[in-house]
Symmetry: none
Subunit: 415 residues, 2 copies
Amino acid sequence: MIAEVIAIGSELVSGERLDTNSQWISQRLNALGIPVHFHTSLGDDLGENIAALGIAAGRARLVIATGGLGPTQDDLTRDALAAMAGVPLVEDAECLAAIEALFARRNRPMADRNRLQALLPQGATPLPNPIGTAPGIWMGSGSTVFVALPGVPYEMKRMFDEQVVPRLRECGAVGRVIVHRVINLFGRGESDIEAQAFDLTVRGRRPEVGITANDATISFRVSCDGANEAEALATMEPTLALIRQRFGDLVLGEGSTDVAAALVAQLERVDATLATAESCTGGLIARRITAIPGVSAWYLGGVVSYANHAKERLLDVPRTLLEAHGAVSPEVAEAMAVGIRSRLGADLGLSVTGVAGPSGGTPEKPVGLVWLGLATSAGVSTRKLELGPEQPRDVIQGRAAKHAMNWARLELLRR
Amino acid sequence: MIAEVIAIGSELVSGERLDTNSQWISQRLNALGIPVHFHTSLGDDLGENIAALGIAAGRARLVIATGGLGPTQDDLTRDALAAMAGVPLVEDAECLAAIEALFARRNRPMADRNRLQALLPQGATPLPNPIGTAPGIWMGSGSTVFVALPGVPYEMKRMFDEQVVPRLRECGAVGRVIVHRVINLFGRGESDIEAQAFDLTVRGRRPEVGITANDATISFRVSCDGANEAEALATMEPTLALIRQRFGDLVLGEGSTDVAAALVAQLERVDATLATAESCTGGLIARRITAIPGVSAWYLGGVVSYANHAKERLLDVPRTLLEAHGAVSPEVAEAMAVGIRSRLGADLGLSVTGVAGPSGGTPEKPVGLVWLGLATSAGVSTRKLELGPEQPRDVIQGRAAKHAMNWARLELLRR
């Protein structure tokens, strides 16, 4: 069953926005054993949309389209599907009720145009959208199944997993599965890690192993096919075990486990609490950690001490220390870590102070110089990072946050 | 002259790699006044490539393809172009000499398969590749010009600018430029805003106006053609002015200006300082603001008061208040805003406390309930948000942060 993914929106073909939905959908379909042979992107033109759907009907048995389901005049997917199939649009009472209920829950009046979102090609099945006004569409035409989903990524992803996958299983489209597993590492460069993994990444090996790097996190991507997920997983398990064993404490974890999640897992394992004091990372560590649900038992909070007097007033860093050594110094990193640990009564106090740039660097303290501090019941230590000076601000902030969290993770790993 | 961009490679349609070449080429063509109406991605299958090139020939006058020009068995673009045009492949002596010279310069023996890269469809013009082995191809077929470039981004980009653009100018394809400007709004729903802009978004209007929504930020996208950039900008200026005037304080700014940048611009304008106290947003506001370079003159810092005792110890929120009303209450939001303002001596103290979910909601305080507090020299006020309960954690956190920053922005706008 060959699939085609269509992304609709003039901002995509003009180059203003990058389409990432098609890649995500292809990964999902691939994992379900449904090979994707085509991606098409096109603008908000009715005639071109009808023609593109017709082309897709001729070369694919499953077509997943995203975008063009909103309430505005340039949202044409409903019309294009109906015209391609040669059926009229009809208002779906259930859809309309769901849209009205959403507006009611949000205490907002419903605009007349939102009523258009309850129109469906005759004979189509609406796919409820639990978090937005645009319902999706499932319809057969000829020998091809067409699915239309909103273009908003988080709505699309949830509806794909909750609404589309079960229907694909029902109609027998799900074949021999391909399973992917990702193991994430942090703390060494990509070429170093690759040099230790030549035996794994060789072409033709089964399971297949690839390496990618993203913002200093290195990922092994292991892929294997099987009659079902359990069989594929069993085939790849020895390879996963080998990677975990060979790379030891560089391993953060699997899947989407990043440094923050790996740190929280260690806090949970040893039942320790953490507090943070951030200067140049400006709340990035706090943000990454609090993005994780249920983290409040381990993460107590922190301070973003951007101005020098914030370090004095919120972290009890003595002014004399700031004046003698400057804000970017091991002495201040130490005082910040000790200060936040004692203020919040945490097991670990973690601090970052540095020059994120692009301005503010000096010959002695260049852009990219960062000091980390880590305070525990055993005392306090500091660590120096040199991340610049050629790197942009967001890279320096991101790397500093990752190195800080990874240091705390390694400290906990030894307990 | 409508253009289509085709990206060839099985790793693109399987979802393993994200195609960014098509976006880059579209931006370039668009700036040259050549509108792109279609993107197609497909795998390394000869029949499918021949068919896709035929479809492109039927709907576009310019087709730019990337990928499939390497020396390996799955590089089929040369064969597909020749088959589509109905001509044989012939070896180009100049191409062969260039490939042999490249290997000689690198002191590496040339593999037999690299000889294949000197094959061209009969009648085609080779496009020299100064930094790789794969020459590009320029050929006419019917009324369409086909251009094939390597898939390696830095080779493709250099060849596009050095080889393709001059040839497009020569054959008169480069027309009027198209200029885009974006105005971002926040504070009202997409359909509400569109209802006030039907006269602008009507089809066929010049300049053209489109509306898109991204995480509750609404963007007007204004596009206009002209003989040159200055002329296009002059034509669109009255439309930009009309949007700014009609939507008043909903307007954040142009281009990539988001709520954080708009807030910082207001702080700068009135020379005021800001401090933040975040509970459910966990440092997201601090993070967004400190991502902006040079913000330290206006942003003093803040507290991430995740645990209740962090609110007491870092923000002086009385324990009795927390016990009487709970952490998610107008009383606590007020105390947090007043506390951080006075701790850091800021002009504005901004606070957020709420239930980000997915757990922790109760009938009285459901997931998505958020209280904001804003303290100034004139006193303190609070605002209630209901962002759930069906929204995921990251959306609730993101929206709460945006609403809080927007409230501070509106407060400063009145000064």
